[in-house]
């Protein structure tokens, strides 16, 4: 069991300068780089640059992308608003329910989207059914496993009880505590959750196509029928657009953090940290 989480540090000296770059770090990054970039290169080589132009000029590029972006925003906001307070509350007040929460949040991952959509369509009110925002509500369910796992990992890394107690002893209410004390400490977790959710929405095809809405991934598939090269170019373009959008979000998020001055509360705890255990 102990062997699982141990990266081996080849060539590291004990008393040596701690700022050196161990070899293993580069080995990992190079192997990863080769694995992820070579297939992209092979696909790009096949598609050719010219094919991209014919994809972008197809009608519906901007409208479908706009729809997907709107859906992504709604989904992300609802997911964070739903998952973050719940996760914090359970960690804080109902630790016995933590396992149950983990179990519930992982279930959506194994339900086929076909079935999920059937369930929701049966109970959704009509005014909602005719708008694409019904999809956003379903996407929250799809994003739940990933968002919760990221937030949970962040919460475990935090001494939640202490900072919340400190905050409330200084007179802050629940919402104030969440927003100004807990969240800044969960910045990475929330960022991961947001990135996962947005990427999920921008890439989700099955439910959108079953509900007959033309989101960006649906549009990409619709327009990939002219030729093999265009179809590959279309999917590479989808990757690139998603990546740009995520970059935009993370850059805005980082700038926002710097401007509001953080509000980070780091507590120094020495050596043998108690596990947030069970």
């Amino acid at each position: 069991m102990a062997a699982i989480a141990r990266p081996r540090e080849a060539g590291r000296q004990e008393a040596g300068p701690r700022r050196s770059y161990p070899v293993w770090r580069w080995v990992i990054l190079i192997v990863a780089g080769v694995y992820f970039l070579v297939p992209l290169f092979a696909a790009l080589r096949f598609a050719g640059i010219g094919a991209f132009g014919s994809v972008i000029s197809e009608t519906g590029f901007t409208s479908s992308l706009g729809l997907s972006v709107r859906l992504a925003i709604v989904t992300t906001v609802v997911t964070i608003v739903l998952m973050l307070p719940t996760a914090v509350y359970v960690h804080l007040r109902l630790p016995k329910l933590r396992r149950l929460l983990e179990g519930i949040t992982i279930l959506p991952i194994v339900i086929p989207p076909v079935v999920l959509i059937v369930g929701v369509l049966q109970i959704a009110p009509n005014f909602l059914k005719s708008t694409p925002y019904l999809l956003a509500l379903e996407y929250v369910i799809l994003a739940m496993p990933f968002a919760y796992r990221a937030i949970d990992a962040g919460l475990r890394a935090l001494d939640l009880k202490t900072i919340v107690e400190a905050s409330s002893s200084l007179g802050a209410g629940w919402i104030s505590t969440l927003w100004r004390v807990v969240m800044p400490n969960l910045r990475t977790a929330v960022l991961s959750a947001v990135v996962l959710t947005v990427a999920l929405v921008l890439g989700e095809f099955t439910m959108a196509s079953l509900a007959l809405f033309q989101t960006f991934p649906v549009w990409i598939v619709v327009n990939d029928q002219t030729s093999g090269q265009v179809s590959v170019a279309a999917s590479l373009l989808a990757l690139f657009v998603t990546w740009l959008f995520l970059l935009l979000i993370t850059m805005i998020g980082t700038r926002q953090a710097r401007r509001t001055g953080g509000g980070q509360v780091t507590l120094f705890v020495v050596a043998r940290q108690q596990t947030r255990g069970d």
């Binding site: 804080l92 990135v195 996962l196 990427a199 050596a271």
Partner: protein, 316 residues
């Protein structure tokens, strides 16, 4: 919802009298107060519970009910029987093997990458690019991903030709992209980035001050990981591996595009029942298979909880 932060579990307050000397009215009042307090305690998760009930539990119930119905709505066990025999049983095994392998190995690799990137010194740009690229790749899959690898590691793929030029054609040594091994190689493409993204917040729990403190006390790397790093990361690591397991279990578009069903996998089989072009009228078998997946993930949860307990005990 302006609650004072009480230590979890404490319900001390007026009304909690001892067994002796309490009047019936006072006892009833204390029970009501207890109930109210309990309600207040769980009210924090009501919005979540409502959402989950509507969006998740109801469809799940629909699946579970459908699994035991025949086409006219009568109760039957034939779907479940079909789903647990023959090629579908084989499919469950293959899916489990595939999911375990593509949960643990990418889990380790993802942790290493996350750690390498996270602890790099100059780093905001690298880290941002890494996080966003991971987000993109974590959701990449299906036909385009299959094509990427066919073009790279297919019989006449780019990398295959490069390797053949240097004298090591993988196909001569038994490798085939269109086999379970090939599918595993392809699954890394979205499993590793997923791991990177979900384990990254946990790495924040490793305060650099601890490392310094440990080394000042004479600890070597191995000791640091054994006594400090490991205990902090292990619970989150196990949770992320569980997530990867579920993700691999339910993925099907990539494997289907790559192998056209020649490898039986439960997710592909569900697809052919629930939204296919060939088999009509047997959706309830598909639902029985879906129920099987829920059972598998439930068992995985149980194993996960057991592992967490043992890890906590052992590492304390």
């Amino acid at each position: 919802m302006d609650q004072t932060v009480a230590a979890p579990g404490s319900l001390a307050g007026p009304g909690a009298l001892g067994p002796s000397g309490s009047s019936p009215a006072a006892a009833r009042a204390s029970r009501v107060t207890l109930a109210l307090r309990w309600l207040r305690r769980i009210s924090g998760i009501v919005p979540f519970a409502v959402y989950v009930t509507l969006g998740l539990l109801l469809p799940m119930v629909a699946v579970a009910v459908g699994a035991f119905q025949d086409n006219s709505g009568n109760f039957t066990l034939s779907n479940v029987h079909a789903a647990t025999h023959g090629v579908y049983l084989h499919g469950f095994w293959q899916s489990i093997i595939l999911s375990v392998v593509t949960a643990v190995l990418p889990g380790i690799f993802g942790l290493l990458i996350a750690y390498a990137v996270f602890t790099a010194k100059r780093g905001t740009i690298l880290r941002q690019a890494n996080v966003t690229a991971s987000g993109v790749f974590a959701n990449f899959g299906g036909v385009p991903l299959a094509f990427l690898f066919v073009a790279t590691l297919g019989a006449s793929g780019l990398a295959t030709r490069w390797l053949a030029d240097i004298g090591f054609n993988p196909y001569d040594h038994g490798f085939n992209l269109y086999s379970l091994a090939g599918v595993i190689v392809v699954y890394f493409y979205f499993q590793v980035p997923l791991m990177v993204l979900v384990i990254l917040p946990a790495l924040e729990g490793l305060r650099p001050a601890w490392r310094e403190a440990a080394e000042n006390l004479g600890a070597r790397s191995w000791d640091y990981w054994r006594f400090v790093g490991g205990p902090v990361l292990l619970p989150s690591f196990l949770g992320c591996v569980l997530l990867l397991f579920g993700s691999a279990l339910s993925a099907y578009a990539t494997a289907e595009a790559l192998t056209s069903g020649t490898i039986p996998l439960t997710s592909i089989q569900i697809g052919s029942f629930l939204n296919g072009n060939v088999i009509a009228g047997q959706e309830n078998v598909g639902k029985a298979l879906g129920l099987g997946m829920v059972v598998i993930i439930a068992i995985a949860m149980i194993i996960y909880v057991a592992l967490q307990r043992r890890a906590a005990k052992w590492l304390r």
